[in-house]
């Protein structure tokens, strides 16, 4: 038997074993084993660095993390499949450990720790909060799922406004609501509402079911409440409308006796349903009649909640965009005539290139928790000029203001970085990616929100060695902030007289990089979000000669073929004689 064969047999045997051992465990309700020393040792080895030995979220790494590592001692778990005020199921804890929490520092342990080890850790985590001992969390019912459709999304969009989700998540969901800047979590730390367009940062996953569960159950320990209570459970749409009408009257006037009785009747009806709801939340078993009644009352509420989930699902791209490399590289498009201004439709014809940003952690002061996730870019050029449209999301528009602790002036800003001289070929090094180095300077366009129509042209030979160019800036700019997003339009001549400027040349791959400052995130100077070098190219103008040479070559080829054929035929004829 060859090694390959042996390996294959062992593999199959393992599969069979797994199916025998694992499947029944899942079928039995996915419970953690009893807490053990093994679980404790694993926890101390892998988790305690951030979550603390006692599980209080105060490990050595905690202070630099945002969001903070969870404090397990309060029993407040963000990502649950259970209702408001309830503890998570064992499976919920297992899933978070396995998959990690996107957009946070919590990594996925699947593939690093075995399944058994992850369950051991679940068991140990539960020992940090007494409430787990007699808990019987009830899972949110997902059976009434409303399939995704345009109609459902439209209803969801309307409900999103009605229920005032925009107060925190913003008008189009970028986390820029009017309440967003003041939010803190249960421990008093700053917390931001999710940018619903960035599904790759949803801590608990971005399936429609995940969204539905967060909406119904809330995100414990954060400002995100359960919204189940925002509906009038048990009332028909007509009854609810009547209640609204009577309440409006109440505000300005006394209700007539009959109206008062009617109002109280509606209120009692609502309470009768809600009492059962509260009972279930308290972990009490409802009677079969109560259960049936609640199911009827909850059906329209769940339906509406699915519409909301479908709407949120519709926001933003499905997956994180591919970065601007390979076939996604930024290609400035040639466009004869005037280049389009900022709001022009023409920009919509181009696809965005996506540049991910990370925190600048090389040079003090560092930014471990950057809030600017990425920059996108589009570009047009003509015979004389080049124009760019950059966008990036920022939950708050921060005009210059002094930082409370450091007194530094904080402000939203961006810098677009090019080398002064484009490296000739891949072997010649680029300047250092953070604002160049002593031997290779970079050329920068610096824009800040307080002067939205100005680009400051700078050169730098290191992060603290930047100089503003002395000549008046030849770069035009216009920046606007709307719905949690900056759009910055920049235009410059392709070539300039200044030897410290980059000269844009068609067909050449030009390095480009970004620095972003979010004032509300404490970004200032070196504390900021940065990207590495990417490259972009001014897509060469398709030559008119393409109408001449290819047909010419084709003609010649055909001619040569005919000539060859004739020659061969002649020779064959000769041979036959």
């Amino acid at each position: 038997m060859s090694t390959n064969h042996r390996f294959f047999c062992v593999f199959i045997a393992n599969l069979v074993l797994l199916s025998v051992i694992v499947i029944p465990v899942f079928a039995q309700g996915k419970k953690a084993p009893a807490a053990s020393e093994t679980g404790k040792a694993l926890y101390n080895d892998k988790c305690a660095h951030c979550h603390g030995v006692e599980g209080a979220g105060d490990g050595a790494g905690a202070a630099n993390l945002l969001p903070r590592p969870r404090d397990f001692t309060k029993g407040l778990y963000k990502i649950r499949s259970t209702g408001s005020g309830q503890l998570p199921t064992d499976q919920d804890l297992f899933d978070i450990i396995s998959k990690g929490m996107p957009g946070s520092s919590m990594p996925a342990w699947e593939g690093i720790l075995s399944e058994d080890q992850r369950w051991q850790i679940v068991a140990h985590i539960k020992t940090f909060y007494d409430g787990f001992e007699d808990a019987s969390p009830v899972e949110i019912d997902l059976s009434g799922k409303v399939p995704y459709s345009g109609e459902s999304v439209t209803k969801g969009r309307e409900l999103y406004k009605q229920l005032e989700c925009n107060a925190c998540h913003g008008a189009v969901g970028r986390g820029d609501g009017t309440s967003a800047p003041d939010l803190t979590d249960e421990w008093g730390f700053r917390i931001w509402p999710a940018n619903l367009e960035q599904k790759w940062n949803y801590r608990g996953g971005a399936t429609t079911e995940d969204i539905f569960k967060r909406f119904i159950g809330g995100i414990a320990g954060s400002p995100m409440p359960s919204f189940i209570s925002s509906f009038r459970v048990g009332l028909s749409d007509a009854e609810s409308a009547r209640m609204t009408e009577l309440e409006a009257k109440m505000d300005s006037d006394e209700l007539a006796d009959a109206e008062q009785t009617e109002y109280e009747g509606l209120e009692e009806k609502l309470y009768a349903f809600e009492d059962i709801m509260l009972k279930v939340e308290e972990g009490e078993e409802p009677t079969p009649e109560e259960k049936a009644k609640l199911d009827v009352g909850m059906k329209p509420i769940f339906e509406k909640s699915w519409h909301i989930a479908n709407y949120v699902k519709s926001l933003g791209p499905e997956a994180i965009p591919q970065p601007a490399i390979g076939d996604k590289v930024l290609r400035a498009q040639y466009r004869p005539g005037d280049l389009p201004p900022i709001g022009d439709e023409a920009w919509n014809t181009l696809e965005s290139s996506y540049f991910p940003l990370v925190g600048q952690v090389v040079i003090e002061p560092r930014q471990f928790n950057p809030s600017i996730d990425s920059v996108t870019a589009k570009s047009f050029y003509n015979d004389k000029e080049i124009a760019f449209l950059f966008t990036w999301d920022d939950r708050t528009k921060t005009l210059p203001q002094a930082d409370e602790e450091t007194a530094e002036i904080l402000e939203d800003a961006i810098a677009i970085q090019f080398p002064v001289k484009v490296p000739q070929g891949p072997t010649e090094p680029k300047p250092y990616f953070i604002w160049g180095d002593a031997r290779r300077a970079v050329y920068l366009w610096h824009w800040k929100v307080s002067e939205p129509q100005k680009i400051t042209e700078m050169n730098a030979k290191g992060i603290d060695k930047a100089t503003v160019q002395s000549a008046a800036s030849q770069v035009q700019a216009e920046g606007v902030y709307e719905d949690g997003r900056y759009r910055l339009w920049v235009k410059r001549a392709l070539t300039t007289e200044d030897k410290n400027d980059l000269q844009f040349e068609s067909g050449v791959f030009i390095p480009i990089a970004f620095s972003g400052w979010d004032g509300a995130n404490g970004d200032v100077k070196t504390k900021r979000a940065i990207s590495t070098w990417y490259t972009f190219v001014l897509e060469p103008v398709p030559s008119k000669k393409r109408f001449v040479y290819p047909p010419l070559v084709a003609l010649i080829s055909v001619g040569v073929l005919f000539a060859l054929r004739g020659a061969v035929q002649r020779r064959e004829n000769g041979n036959n004689i």
Binding site: A63, S179, P223, F227, E282
Partner: protein, 262 residues
């Protein structure tokens, strides 16, 4: 797999830089009330009354005006002030919880159905600011504002609570609370300045002072008790409670003077 390894390496790099920023937890330790280990309900006949006025010692600091950042038409109609220390005429101190620390036997809660346990959210403010809720009672939240508030109660002992009370919900009832606790903060995250307090009390010998600083504890079984207080900015007198002797059917006056926590 690759991304996991990368993220773990990144995590270790982050951990390596620990200590740079020493941002300590912002969790301010809120002082709590003292509850009896056990409490026995007995029939109290000819109980006495403890009453008095709570005053603030010295010049009252100027109240900080709150910045109303949203929903101006509802929240910004009148000026609002931070309410951790509300001092009225004659230095009268509002929102002081005065209670018997060491009572272990006494009356049950009033059976009077007309007593309502309600907090109104009006003009984006919790009214009253400090609330006493008997364990086992249901609290009703009123939303007079007709805009969305979220009821976020920061319990440790009882279940945490955070539910939205949309404009559709003029009244909403909360689950019954099971254990004595608090006072715990109640907040609305939508309107970050909104804050109040709820104490879940296990016996009826608690009172909150009104705007004149007055408080009254009634139907107290005759005896000598430790009288405690709690105030958001002034703290508690847990370590040095006042001794009060109540006589059958009598009224004892005990005024209190509080100063800011040092």
């Amino acid at each position: 797999m690759k991304t996991q390894v990368v993220s773990i390496i990144a995590l270790f790099i982050v951990c390596y830089y620990v200590g740079a920023a020493g941002a300590a937890g912002k969790d301010e330790a809120v002082e709590s009330l003292v509850f009896p280990a056990s409490y026995k309900v007995v029939n109290v006949a000819n109980g006495g009354t403890i009453t008095g006025v709570v005053k603030y010692e010295g010049d009252a600091p100027e109240m900080k005006k709150l910045e109303i950042t949203k929903d101006q038409n509802v929240c910004g109609k009148t000026d609002k002030f931070e309410e951790s220390l509300v001092v009225g005429d004659g230095n009268a101190l509002r929102d002081v919880i005065v209670y018997l620390i060491d009572i272990s036997e006494g009356a049950g809660f009033s059976e009077d159905k007309s007593v309502k346990y309600e907090i109104d959210q009006k003009g984006c403010q919790f009214l009253p600011h400090v609330n006493l809720l008997p364990v086992g009672q249901q609290l009703t939240m009123i939303n007079s504002d007709r805009i969305m508030h979220n009821i976020h109660i920061f319990s440790n002992t009882n279940k945490a609570y955070n539910k939205a009370q949309g404009k559709n919900r003029r009244k909403m009832r909360l689950p019954k609370v099971k254990k004595a606790e608090g006072p715990v903060p109640i907040k609305c995250d939508v309107h970050g300045w909104m804050q109040g307090w709820i104490a879940y009390i296990p016996h009826p010998y608690f009172a909150a002072s009104n705007e004149k600083g007055e408080y009254k504890i009634e139907n107290v079984p005759p005896g000598t008790y430790k009288l405690g207080y709690w105030q958001a900015a002034c703290g508690t007198n847990k370590d040095a409670p006042v001794s009060v002797t109540v006589e059958a059917g009598g009224t004892v006056t005990q005024d209190l003077t509080l100063a800011l926590k040092k």
